[in-house]
C-alpha cells in the first residue's frame, strides 16, 4: 500500500503545489508550465480513479489529516458518491484546461497566463477539497479559497465588465461564507463538534434542547449555499460573472463551481442534519419550490438575452435548479437524476461555453442575431452547439434525457406529478431559446458576412470530445447509474 493511503489528501496537495510552481515555471521555463499543470491534473485523475476502485472493494475510506483522529482532527472521507463527483470535477477541468491552452493567448495578456495556471490549479484543488472534506471548518476555508480563485479567474481579464462582475460576485459570495460560518457557530454551540459524522449523531439529541440554534443554522446554510450555487432568487451575480469572464473560466464556473456548492448543500442535508431535523422543518420543500421557480425563470430570462454568453449563463440558473430538485425530492431515484445531471450539465455547459469561445475567437461575434448562417462556415462548432442544445432540452440520445427521466420518475414515485409538469415545461422553454439559434445557424438563406479565422485543431478536438461524451451519456448510462444507485442507497 505505502503512500496510496494518502491519496485523498494528495489530490488536493498536488493541485496546490502545482499552483505554486506554475508561475515560476512560466517565468523561467515557459514550455514546462502548461505540461506541469496538465500532468498534475492527470495525476489527480489517476489517484481519484484508484481511490474509487479501492473504495468499491473495501467500502468507505476515512483519512485523518496528520494522524489526528476526529472530532478534533480534520477528516477526509472517500465514498463512491464523493469520488464520482471528484472524478467529474477533475476530468472536466482537465478537458477545459486543454481547451484553455489555445484560447487563453487570445483572451489574456501573455504575462498573466502563468498566474492563470496558478488560479486554475487552486480552483481545482479547492473544489476537490470541498468534495472530500468531512469537517465544517475545513469546508469553510476551502470555500473561501474556491471563491477567491473563482473571482480571480474572471477579473484576470482586467476589462471593465470583468472587474465589476467579479466584485459583485466577491461581495455576494462573502455574504454567503459569512452566513455559512455563522451557521457553523450555531451548530458548534449546540453540539461542540465540527465533524459531519459526529454532528449527525449529536444533533439528534441536541435538537431537543436547542431547536432554535439548529433551525437558524439550517436557514443560514440554505442562504449560504443558495447564493454560491445561484439558487433562483439569489442568482443575481451569476449572469454578469459568467458572461464577462474569459471563455475557459466561464466553462469552469458554469460547468463545475456552482455544482460543487449544490453538492455541499446536499452533504449538509444528508450527512449533517439528521432526519428528525429535516422532518421538523420543511427545508427540502423550500429548496424544491425555489428550484421549480428557478427552472422556469432561468429559462425565461435566457430568452430575453441578446448576448450568446449571457444566454448560456442564464440557462445555467435553470439547469442548476434540476440538481436542487434532485436534492429536494428526498428519494433515491431523484438523487440519481440530480447527480447524473451534475455530470451531464458539467460537460454540456462547458462545451457550449467552448463553442461560444470558438465563435468569439474566429469571428468576434457575441450577439445572437448576428449568428445567422454561421453553421456553413463553422460546421463542427455549430454541430457541437446543436448536440449541446439537444442535451439541454433533453432530446432522446443525449445525456440530458436520462437525468430528467429519473427526476420525473421520482416525482411520480413520491406522488407529486406537478413537478413532472415543471420539468416538461422548463424543457420546452429551453427548446424555445436554444433551437432558433441552431435553425438560424444552418437554415438561414443569407451567407455569414464576417471574416472567419480558421478554428485551431485543439479547440475542434475538445468540442468533438464533448459531443462524443454527451452522446455516450445518452446511450450508455448504465454503469454510472448503477454506481449512483449504490451510492444513493446508503442514504435511505
Amino acid at each position: 500500500m505505502g503512500f496510496t493511503v494518502h491519496f485523498p489528501v494528495l489530490i488536493v496537495v498536488v493541485m496546490f503545489f502545482t499552483a505554486f510552481i506554475s508561475p515560476l515555471l512560466y517565468r523561467w521555463a515557459r514550455k514546462l508550465a502548461a505540461p506541469a499543470v496538465l500532468s498534475a491534473l492527470v495525476a489527480a485523475l489517476v489517484m481519484a480513479a484508484a481511490l474509487l476502485i479501492q473504495v468499491q472493494q473495501t467500502g468507505t475510506y476515512y483519512y485523518h489529516m496528520g494522524g489526528w483522529p476526529p472530532p478534533w482532527g480534520i477528516e477526509f472521507k472517500a465514498d463512491p458518491l464523493r469520488l464520482y463527483i471528484l472524478l467529474v470535477v477533475i476530468s472536466v477541468s482537465l478537458w477545459i484546461f486543454i481547451y484553455a491552452l489555445r484560447d487563453l493567448g487570445h483572451e489574456l495578456k501573455t504575462r498573466v497566463i502563468g498566474w492563470y495556471y496558478t488560479l486554475y490549479s487552486v480552483l481545482v484543488g479547492s473544489m476537490a477539497g470541498i468534495v472530500l472534506t468531512n469537517d465544517l471548518f475545513n469546508l469553510f476555508v476551502l470555500m473561501e479559497i474556491c471563491a477567491i480563485s473563482a473571482c480571480a479567474i474572471i477579473s484576470i481579464k482586467e476589462d471593465r465588465e470583468c472587474l465589476e462582475a467579479s466584485f459583485k460576485y466577491l461581495i455576494l459570495s462573502a455574504m454567503g461564507t459569512g452566513c455559512f460560518l455563522l451557521g457553523v457557530v450555531m451548530l458548534y454551540m449546540a453540539t461542540g463538534y465540527l465533524n459531519y459524522g459526529y454532528l449527525y449523531q449529536a444533533l439528534v439529541e441536541a435538537f431537543n434542547f436547542y431547536p432554535l440554534n439548529i433551525f437558524t443554522a439550517a436557514a443560514l446554510f440554505i442562504v449560504a449555499f443558495g447564493t454560491k450555487a445561484a439558487l433562483f432568487p439569489l442568482h443575481v451575480w451569476l449572469p454578469d460573472a459568467h458572461a464577462s469572464a474569459p471563455s475557459p473560466s466561464s466553462a469552469m464556473l458554469s460547468g463545475l463551481v456552482i455544482k460543487i456548492y449544490a453538492f455541499a448543500l446536499f452533504l449538509m442535508f444528508y450527512e449533517v442534519f439528521p432526519r428528525v431535523v429535516l422532518e421538523a422543518i420543511p427545508l427540502s420543500e423550500i429548496v424544491l419550490w425555489l428550484a421549480a421557480l428557478g427552472s422556469m425563470f432561468g429559462s425565461i430570462y435566457a430568452m430575453l438575452q441578446t448576448d450568446l454568453k449571457k444566454m448560456l449563463a442564464y440557462s445555467s440558473i435553470g439547469q442548476i435548479a434540476y440538481i436542487f430538485m434532485g436534492i429536494g425530492f428526498h428519494h433515491s431515484l431523484a438523487l440519481v437524476g440530480g447527480f447524473y445531471h451534475i455530470m451531464v450539465h458539467a460537460v454540456t455547459k462547458a462545451m457550449l461555453f467552448m463553442v461560444a469561445g470558438v465563435i468569439i475567437y474566429s469571428t468576434g461575434v457575441r450577439k445572437i442575431d448576428q449568428l445567422a448562417g454561421i453553421g456553413r462556415v463553422l460546421p463542427v462548432t455549430m454541430v457541437a452547439f446543436t448536440i449541446g442544445s439537444a442535451s439541454m432540452v433533453g432530446i432522446p440520445g443525449t445525456g440530458g434525457l436520462i437525468s430528467k427521466w429519473y427526476l420525473a420518475l421520482s416525482a411520480l414515485e413520491i406522488g407529486r406529478p406537478i413537478f413532472v409538469l415543471v420539468i416538461l415545461a422548463s424543457s420546452l422553454l429551453n427548446a424555445i431559446y436554444y433551437m432558433p439559434i441552431v435553425i438560424n445557424a444552418f437554415m438561414h438563406q443569407d451567407e455569414f458576412k464576417k471574416e472567419v479565422k480558421p478554428v485551431p485543431p485543439v479547440m475542434q478536438f475538445c468540442m468533438v470530445v464533448g459531443m462524443v461524451f454527451i452522446i455516450i451519456f445518452g446511450f450508455f448510462s448504465k454503469p454510472v447509474v448503477t454506481l449512483l444507485e449504490q451510492a444513493a442507497a446508503l442514504f435511505f
Partner: protein, 122 residues
C-alpha cells in the same frame, strides 16, 4: 423576565448578532464599494467574535496546563480556528481592495451608482 436575564447573561452573542446584521445590511445596500468592504469585515469580525465567545466559560483561564489540574480552562479550539478565519478574511479584503483600485482607474469613482450612471450614458 427569564428571556431578559438570558440576554444579559449572554450579551456577547447579542453584540455579535447586531454587528452581523449591521455588516450584512451595509454590505448589500450601500453603493460605495469601500464601505461594502468595511461592512464585509464587520460581518466577518462579528462571526469570529461569536465563535471565540462560544469557547469561553465563566471564570475560565487560558488553556495552558499547570501543575494543579483543578482550574477551569477555556476551550482553545475556537481560538485556533478563528486564527485561520482571520487570515482568510484578510486575503478576501486584500483582493476586494485591489479590485476597487482597478475599477477606480477606469471610472474615477468607487461609487456603484455613479458607475451605473456612467455606463448607461455610453
Amino acid at each position: 423576565m427569564e428571556t431578559l436575564q438570558g440576554i444579559i447573561d449572554n450579551y456577547y452573542y447579542m453584540v455579535a448578532i447586531i454587528l452581523f446584521v449591521i455588516g450584512m445590511y451595509t454590505m448589500l445596500t450601500h453603493s460605495n464599494m469601500i464601505k461594502k468592504v468595511i461592512a464585509m469585515n464587520i460581518m466577518d469580525a462579528s462571526v469570529f467574535l461569536m465563535f471565540v465567545a462560544v469557547g469561553y466559560a465563566h471564570g475560565s483561564q487560558a488553556p495552558i496546563i499547570r501543575d494543579n489540574a483543578e482550574i477551569l480552562y477555556a476551550n482553545p479550539l475556537p481560538g485556533a480556528l478563528i486564527l485561520t478565519g482571520i487570515v482568510v478574511a484578510v486575503s478576501v479584503t486584500a483582493y476586494a481592495l485591489s479590485l476597487i483600485v482597478k475599477i477606480y482607474r477606469y471610472y474615477d469613482t468607487c461609487d456603484y451608482d455613479e458607475i451605473c450612471d456612467i455606463r448607461s450614458q455610453e
